[in-house]
């Protein structure tokens, strides 16, 4: 499968069609069924929940079939005769052996391949971005205005931020440093500042997550009131 074919499969899947009136009604019922859980657990919600699990699982299977299995059998093996590719495919099939009594250990073969590949990927590819992050932590404290009428002059705000950033990173690492017992004011205070930094970071992440969910909620309400009922213009 060429990249453009893959893109076409993906775009076929992601670009929504203009919905027909029947689709809008079905979508509205599905939305209301899920929202009914706000009232309490009920049979309509449970039905929607089971349908959701079924459709999501089936959709995943069809996507993998269209994106990988079909091109693999039709193009790679059928047309180009790349029979060697049947080996990894057969190795992948061994995962189903876990249900066969006496042959369950065969499922460890694909599992060990995946784990080994993942570990190899970490060893081969993760040091570079990790060291880039480390390097970028040690920024120059003395900052100047990057542009504007004061460009090149001392920038107090930027300098304070650089110091705070450096202190935040180092103290966060100190918080997770369990090799040495936290005795003495230096260890205790650096660990405490690290905890505050983590709390600020998690609070900011939490606020962003809430906003994401809220925008989804607003989208569904807009769909119900606008697209379905036509009350919004």
């Amino acid at each position: 499968m060429t990249p453009s074919d893959a893109l076409e499969v993906l775009s076929n899947h992601l670009v929504p069609m203009a919905m027909t009136r029947a689709q809008i009604w079905v979508a509205a019922m599905a939305t209301l069924a899920i929202f009914s859980y706000v009232w309490r657990e009920n049979p309509v919600f449970r039905l929607a929940e089971y349908v959701f699990v079924a459709l999501a699982t089936a959709n995943g299977v069809v996507m993998v079939y269209d994106s990988y299995l079909k091109p693999f059998f039709v193009l790679d093996v059928g047309q180009q005769g790349r029979y060697a590719l049947l080996i990894p495919f057969a190795v992948g099939l061994l995962i189903y052996a876990r249900s066969i009594r006496g042959l369950g250990w065969l499922s460890r073969l694909p599992m060990s391949l995946w784990v080994g590949y993942g570990a190899g990927y970490v060893l081969a590819w993760s040091p570079q971005p990790l060291f880039v992050q480390l390097r970028d932590t040690f920024v120059r404290f003395y900052q100047t205005y990057p542009d504007g009428p004061l460009a090149g002059r001392f920038w107090p705000g930027g300098t304070v931020n650089s110091v705070l950033f450096f202190v935040g990173v180092i103290t966060t690492l100190m918080y997770f440093f369990f090799t040495v017992e936290r005795r003495g004011p230096a260890m205790r205070w650096s660990s405490a500042v690290g905890r505050w930094t983590i709390m600020l970071a998690l609070g900011a992440a939490f606020g962003t997550a809430v906003q994401g969910r809220m925008s989804l909620l607003i989208g569904r309400i807009q769909f119900l009131l606008g697209t379905w009922l036509g009350w919004l213009r």
Binding site: Y68, M111, L130, A201
Partner: protein, 204 residues
């Protein structure tokens, strides 16, 4: 043999990936692309694991005569029906996409939007200010939310500025520290797997 062969495969897989990354012979052979393709095929072959697990679970519940029999039947019927539909007319088929747009997409986004209610109740419980740390987290979350909406900007220019500072300095510093720690931890775990010290995956 049941453990030695998988352990050997693990070590070989690590070596192949590392070799293809760091050695020019591996780069010349374009090993990364080849091994990535092979790996994707092994993943693709295992695509039915989820379907089979769901089938076994719900058939088992049907056999036991549980009171969820109607939902179990619906789940199995819809799942296999939708798979059959996708195999017949592909994921770009008219009926397949009709169901996708009218049922799956709304169910998916509504399910996630429902988390807004859970988050609201969770934050009510978590953010009751019982300590200085909890107060810091609550203030940061409130400032980020207020700074992102027009109301915050209308109230004071302080809110968008505070949000920008929190995201650029505090959040980056906190997550940078966590990422560096997690990255070093990941490297250590990968070494343990390579050396055969970590063998949890062989117990499956």
């Amino acid at each position: 043999m049941t453990r030695e062969i998988p352990a050997t495969i693990t070590v070989l897989a690590v070596l192949v990936v590392v070799f293809s990354r760091y050695f020019s012979v591996g780069t010349a052979l374009d090993l990364t692309r080849v091994t990535d393709h092979w790996l994707m095929l092994t993943y693709a072959a295992s695509v039915l694991v989820g379907v089979l697990n769901l089938t076994r679970l719900h058939l088992d519940r049907l056999r036991r005569g549980k009171d969820t029999w109607f939902y179990d039947l619906v789940l199995l019927g819809v799942m296999y029906g939708y798979i059959a539909l996708g195999l017949v007319e592909t994921n770009a088929g008219t009926t397949f996409r009709w169901v996708y747009n009218a049922v799956l997409v709304p169910l998916d986004s509504t399910m996630y939007s429902l988390l807004a209610f859970y988050i609201a109740s969770a934050s009510f419980r978590a953010f009751r200010v019982r300590s200085f740390e909890a107060a810091l987290m609550m203030v940061a979350a409130a400032l980020v939310m207020l700074g992102s909406v027009p109301l915050g900007d209308a109230l004071s220019p302080f809110f968008p500025a505070a949000r920008a500072w929190l995201m650029r300095v505090a959040q980056t510093a906190g997550f940078r520290g966590i990422q560096i720690g997690a990255g070093l931890g990941g490297l250590a775990t990968a070494f343990r797997i390579f050396l055969g010290i970590e063998r949890a995956h062989l117990r499956a």
